[in-house]
């Protein structure tokens, strides 16, 4: 899965096209490739509960019983169900900001 600036925790989203990189302080484009110092930003597409569907742009959230639809780019920094999916099969729990669902 190709990473972009908007997949990095240091990317401060200004608008739909660009943001600020906290490391360099400069304005960067959302779709440009990030540097090696990328810090992982929780998003649905990286969550263990995310199941892609036949439609590439939408998916399913298996964290809740009724399996609501979701979309891959949805930021999950405040989602307490988020569990990062690891490529080696082991899932690692990144504590998100919020205890939203508690």
């Amino acid at each position: 899965m190709e990473m972009r600036h908007s997949d990095c925790r240091r990317y401060v989203p200004v608008d739909a096209a660009k943001g600020i990189c906290r490391r360099t302080g400069g304005v960067v484009n959302l779709e440009d490739l990030p540097c090696r110092d990328l810090i992982f930003l929780p998003k649905c597409k990286y969550c263990a509960s995310y199941q892609s569907s036949e439609r590439e742009e939408l998916g399913i959230c298996a964290a809740e019983a009724d399996h609501p639809w979701t979309y891959p780019e949805l930021v999950a920094a405040t989602c307490s169900w988020f569990l990062q999916r690891e490529s080696g099969g082991k899932t690692e729990r990144i504590l998100p900001l919020s205890s939203a669902a508690d």
Binding site: V12, P13, V14, D15, A16, A17, I20, R22, G25, V27, N29, L30, E31, R55, E57, L58, E64, D66, P68, W69, T70, Y71, P72, E73, L74, V75, A77, T78, C79, L97, S98, S99, A100
Partner: protein
């Protein structure tokens, strides 16, 4: 941070609507107000907090700097109508936009076309390409269930409904009321959280909940609803607390991640204050300002609102400012910086509504009106040193929001008045000057039946751009001292019957009820010869009342569905007396509910047209009515504004052979016109105002209260002019009407400002919610101390004659013409359009042309 705003595009985030819809769909069968609160709580607690480098005041509607989002539960029709176009745009990477580039201001932060990773929505908002499918999925979830769809089903049962559809298509009325911007043009209220802290407010709700659970309280209709409202209040407050806590956690994360000591301290300070105000009464001016900004943002996220005004912030936050200053906790420069940051954050607000609403009438503005001056509870002058700083921040950090208004009365100190004039002279267009006494007289007549007394009338402030809105006093205790602070306590205004185009209704009178532009019969044919001026006037009145009747009833249905499905919970509990009574806004929980009104547009053009017809056709009989009709259809021999590509009178081009209409055009143009202290025209204004203020009150809102006149134009005078043929006043087809309601039509006020003032005050302004006078003054006329003094005397002269409002564009037309030709050089230029200040580059061309064409007074 203001420069960052200039680089920022207006952007759509789906976080809030996604989580709201997801939770709503899980709660089928739940009590509506609780189901709504659960969905709001889930949405608030899942918003991603973004803290921008250098910010000391944080928070926003979305993850973006200038972000907003659609509320498909209010209306999803637009997305369904353009879904194929949006899908296509999402697939085509970097292709040009749909064929018609919007008529939006083509510059500034508006995303008028698709580009690279961004798709343009409604010609204004950008959304990342990959999120378009999710946007359409959200819209589909609400088809047949939104307030728009359900309201539409029942509004069609109103007798004469086809007339309403025609009024909208002919732009005789501009936009529906119940689902577009159902709240706003009102003053919010921060008192309860400022006094008790959010945890304290929850405690009040819990206490009341126990008292009312299972009790009808003598009200068999609403009594039992109180339990559910209190439960809903607790849920929403939990969501807001979670949202604020997410910001404090993000600040804490940045504190730990920052290497620089200064940054660590700033983020640490931020985290501490956010953790505190997430539950308790603010301790400092900075914490109080942060809390009121977050509450304001939260209310804007709960519903589709334009014109949510903070009220008299300088008097509301005075307790913290005074005590901080005395304790040496707050320097004047730090306070000024915080007020500047507050201006930038408020300017970052965007209101997502359909283009016809945001583009057509609002010019993208959000109308957060902060007022200064006015009277205290005991009738003394209410101003204080913090208000001087607020004016200063309006100059050192000029931005469109919040716009400023000065509630003028004779006991305001001279230094505040001269500071306000200096602010006007910077060309920002604010503060507007408002007559405190005229407003209070109006308020007492309109809200007296709901219990308003003289003392309470003093607590008023301005809703959106110019809507006089009722307020109330609350006693706030801080540091062992007591203060009476004002806050809003009325329902939204500028709802009920939106903008009615008076010149277009007169056009229908001349053509027997027909819209000749669309060639459609709008009103039933009267088949009257209009042989006398009285007959012409009677026909106009009958058509006007038909329009108000059907629009009022249809919008009452829409608002009724809105209050049943989409009632505000947060904005109910914030305003008196919902928290005490347990009744939300839809159950008449607010203290004042008689707030719905009838809006007009094109007053000056109507008066000038009636005056020209009276003189030329009915008195000296130099032309017949049929002559006038033919001249109108021929546009007096001129090309149309569309053909010329300019909407202002001065730029129009005569067709070859158009000279045949020159004589009739000359006679109609030179007939007596409004704005020259000429009774032949001014008595017609008085006749219209007397009629309007009487007939509006014959109609009733869904809450059972009488409507009343609201006389502003916002920017409807552009699009409404664009669909109106030439007029008997000599105005040409497609050109923009006069703005506001008391502003003269450009070029017709020839006897100077004092003659214009005499014309404008020939009627009682307290019979209407407002009146609007925009004056354009050349900078040279107000130069230096003497110029400032003259401008102050000019302002006083008008207000002392009983006028309600005046505001100034102090700008050189040559600069505006250059800015129209080279927008790239004028990104920060602002002008006063109607009751609001907007960036020049973000205004549509029709309004730009009209501001340029306004009469420019070289001396005052």
């Amino acid at each position: 941070l203001r420069d960052l705003y200039f680089q920022t595009l207006s952007s759509v985030s789906l976080e809030f609507p996604y989580w709201y819809t997801r939770r709503w769909q899980q709660l089928e069968g739940e009590v509506p107000v609780v189901r709504r609160a659960e969905a709001l709580k889930m949405a608030f607690s899942h918003l991603t907090p973004t803290i921008y480098p250098g910010e000391r005041l944080v928070g926003g509607k979305t993850i973006y700097y200038r972000g907003s989002f659609p509320m498909p539960w209010l209306s999803e029709g637009y997305f369904m109508a353009v879904q194929d176009q949006l899908y296509q745009a999402a697939l085509e990477k970097g292709s040009a936009a749909a064929d018609q580039v919007t008529k939006w201001g083509s510059g500034g932060g508006n995303v008028t076309e698709n580009f690279g990773p961004v798709v343009s929505i409604a010609g204004k908002f950008g959304i990342p390409r990959q999120e378009v499918p999710a946007l359409l999925e959200l819209a589909r979830a609400w088809v047949g269930k939104s307030v728009d769809d359900v309201g539409h089903k029942y509004e069609q049962m109103v007798p004469g409904y086809p007339l309403k559809e025609n009024l909208m298509r002919s732009v005789i009325c501009m936009f529906d009321s119940g689902y577009t911007l159902p709240q706003g043009r009102e003053v919010t209220n921060y008192y309860y959280p400022l006094q008790h802290g959010l945890e304290g407010v929850k405690e009040i709700a819990r206490t009341h909940m126990a008292e009312v659970a299972g009790e009808a309280g003598g009200d068999g209709l609403r009594g039992m609803d109180r339990l559910y409202f209190y439960q809903a209040s607790i849920l929403v407050l939990e969501g807001i607390q979670s949202w604020i806590n997410n910001y404090s956690k993000e600040a804490r994360r940045l504190e730990q991640e920052s290497e620089e000591l200064l940054l660590r301290n700033e983020y640490g300070e931020l985290a501490d204050s956010l953790e505190w105000i997430a539950s308790r009464q603010p301790r400092t001016f900075r914490e109080a300002l942060q809390l009121v900004f977050l509450l304001h943002t939260a209310v804007l996220n709960e519903d589709c609102i334009s014109g949510l005004s903070p009220g008299r912030v300088g008097q509301i936050l005075w307790p913290w400012f005074e005590q901080d200053r005395e304790a040496g906790r707050l320097g004047e420069m730090e306070a000024l910086e915080l007020l500047e940051l507050y201006r930038v954050k408020m300017t970052c607000y965007d209101c997502f509504a359909a283009m016809g609403v945001v583009g057509g009438v609002l010019s993208g503005n959000t109308f957060n009106h902060l007022c200064l001056g006015g009277l205290a509870k005991d009738g003394s002058s209410a101003t204080n040193p913090l208000e001087m700083l607020i004016l200063e921040a309006g100059m050192t950090c000029a931005t469109p929001q919040p716009t400023l208004g000065l509630l003028y009365h004779e006991r305001l100190p001279e230094d505040l008045l001269l500071q306000a004039i200096e602010c006007n002279k910077t060309g920002t267009g604010y503060p507007a000057w408002l007559n405190d006494e005229v407003a209070r007289t109006f308020l007492l007549s309109q809200y007296g039946p709901e219990g308003m007394d003289v003392e309470e009338a003093r607590a008023w402030s301005v809703g959106g751009c110019l809507e006089t809105s009722p307020g109330s006093w609350h006693e706030l205790t801080l540091g062992g001292r007591r203060y009476w602070i004002p806050g809003g306590s009325g329902q939204p205004t500028s709802v009920g019957v939106h903008f009615l185009s008076l010149p277009k209704i007169l056009e229908c009178v001349l053509f027997n009820g027909r819209d000749m532009r669309r060639d459609v019969q709008i009103f039933p044919p009267q088949d009257r010869p209009l042989a006398t001026f009285e007959e012409l006037w009677e026909t106009f009145c009958s058509y006007f009342e038909m329009a108000v009747e059907v629009l009022c009833r249809a919008n009452n249905v829409q608002h009724d569905i809105w209050r049943k499905q989409n009632m505000p919970v947060l904005h109910s509990l914030l305003k008196p007396d919902c928290l005490e009574t347990g009744y939300h806004i839809g159950n008449l929980g607010y203290r004042y509910n008689a707030t719905y009104n009838v809006e007009s547009c094109g007053t000056a053009n109507l008066v000038n047209a009636l005056s020209a017809l009276k003189a030329s056709v009915y008195q000296d009989k130099s032309h017949s009515l049929e002559d006038v009709r033919q001249a109108i259809l021929a546009n007096f021999g001129f090309q149309t504004a569309e053909e010329v590509g300019s909407y202002s009178l001065s730029a129009q081009v005569l067709r070859p052979g158009g000279e045949v209409w020159e004589e009739i055009h000359h006679d109609l143009l030179t007939a007596p016109k409004y704005g020259n202290d000429d009774p032949r025209a001014d008595t017609l204004l008085a006749q219209w105002e007397q009629y309007f203020s009487t007939v509006a009150r014959r109609f009733q809102s869904l809450y059972g209260f009488p409507l009343y006149p609201c006389q502003i134009s916002v920017s409807t005078h552009g699009p409404m002019g664009a669909v109106t043929l030439a007029g008997p006043d000599g105005r040409l087809a497609g050109t923009t009407f006069a703005d506001g309601s008391m502003s003269a039509y450009p070029g017709t006020d020839r006897n100077g400002p004092y003659a214009l003032f005499a014309s404008a005050t020939c009627w009682d302004h307290s019979r209407s919610q407002n009146s609007q006078m925009n004056l354009k003054i050349h900078p040279s006329a107000a130069r230096g101390a003497q110029g400032a003094r003259k401008l102050l005397e000019l302002t006083r002269a008008y207000l002392r004659q009983g006028a309600f409002h005046i505001q100034y564009n102090i700008v050189d037309s040559k600069v505006l013409k250059d800015a129209q030709a080279h927008p790239e050089n004028y990104r920060t230029l602002m002008v006063r359009v109607a009751g609001f200040t907007q960036y020049w580059v973000e205004i549509g061309k029709a309004i730009q042309d009209e501001v340029i064409a306004r009469t420019e007074y070289e001396s005052v």
